[in-house]
Symmetry: C2
Amino acid sequence: MIEEETLPFEAHLELRAQSVEALLRRLLDERILPGEIVRPGTLLAAMRHGVLNGGKRLRPFLVLESAALFDADGEAALRVAAALECVHCYSLIHDDLPAMDDDDLRRGQPTVHRAFDEASAILAGDSLLTYAFDIIADEATELPAQRKLDLVLGLSRAAGIGGMAGGQALDLEAERKRPDETGIITLQAMKTGALIRYGCEAGAVLAGAAPADRERLAEFGSAIGLAFQLADDLLDLTSNAETMGKATGKDAAAGKATLVGLHGANWAQDQLHGLVEQAHLLLEPYGERAALLKDAASFVANRRN
Amino acid sequence: MIEEETLPFEAHLELRAQSVEALLRRLLDERILPGEIVRPGTLLAAMRHGVLNGGKRLRPFLVLESAALFDADGEAALRVAAALECVHCYSLIHDDLPAMDDDDLRRGQPTVHRAFDEASAILAGDSLLTYAFDIIADEATELPAQRKLDLVLGLSRAAGIGGMAGGQALDLEAERKRPDETGIITLQAMKTGALIRYGCEAGAVLAGAAPADRERLAEFGSAIGLAFQLADDLLDLTSNAETMGKATGKDAAAGKATLVGLHGANWAQDQLHGLVEQAHLLLEPYGERAALLKDAASFVANRRN
């Protein structure tokens, strides 16, 4: 038997992804919860299509590892991780709609509105977003009530008008009105940064960690959120649809303003190095226990798809 | 000065609507909350368009009156009422989309995707749904943590796949595959019944009322939810677009199965009387204090628009 510690980072990521996937599969089965009447088959299938699709489960990984850093309950952390993934997947389903980014492919598979129809995709996204709060609030998530409320509140702020959804609105506006550098940074901090930051912070919240630890993890999340977006912009420039499992080169084609477009690929590589260094420095106080989270920062900056 | 008790029901409804509207206006201003980055102007305007539109605020009324029945804190009840209205308005915005019911008018005004665009309407709905959980979980809602969690959980169950969103999915399916009577009842209990039931139950939850009271109010909500839908189906048959402020006669035109279509208008009138009687009976134990809630049942059954 191979000891877990000797595995490469990708194998750790994959192990956590399997746990999250198993829970998501259970959460999205046909059994109804108290207060539910029925789970209509087509809608449930559309939700499963949008969620159970072999994603890397990076955001759940961040929840699980930051929770482990502060010895939070593993089962509760897994449920919060699954809730966050539901929000991430809802956002992808809605972003892919014809009225938004109009994408036919996601991870090499037809997007939800292509595999089903637009109405089902809208409702599947709505239902996943709603379900995320259910998963956290449910008694099966064994945490003190106030911590669960903090997790609900953090998730709604990260996902709503002042976070992810607001960032998507700014992104759509940016196609008409090119934002300046500050505008791009704000847009990206909201559109992709907010949920990643929340994922890292959530682990500390789950464990009832000290405010300083919570803030440190949130800052770590902000750094890798920025790195994630820079790497994404670089990939859009250099990769192809086969590697990415989705359409690429769209930013340039759409004339979309990105920091990479503004400053060039070399500048972006330098920035990425700086952000990884900053992320590692933030975790210094936790020593070896934070090794996997540090690896996650490097992974995000260097990923190839 | 006119004493409140001598006012007709509609005036009471209007008074409560004004309080709810004032709070919604404050909640949807440009000030950001901790954890939010910015509130993009266009998205905020689309949310306001979908919410601040002179609605009757029936669901908030039910929250406020059922909360008052058990002496719940009025300010907390108002916030929960506003949260429920955000969920109701999100559902209208998404239902009106071209991929769903494709409506151009709502309360005599252009729907959100007509006044703005489809992407803004999708994101405005998403953001309102997200915000509803924020409003309940926020510390400004002064309630014990476990009660707030119960309210979050109840709202997510009422709005999600096993409630309103699932009901909308069944409704879309019903255009292809005519449901039988049981199917129609399930569909309506989910699509319109679940949120109305939740509104009535939420008052009891807010106050920490006994489980029997909570169940009684929920049953009251189910009865008036059924009455609401029957009255709606009758109105669709007999009213016109001018009175309703939205397109009418659509059910028959779409060949949509309704209980009114199945059993006729006279049967529906008899049912309505029975439901109102049942609703009043459920509130008997609360005597005169429940007078306005009883009036609400009659109002729902007899409304003309």
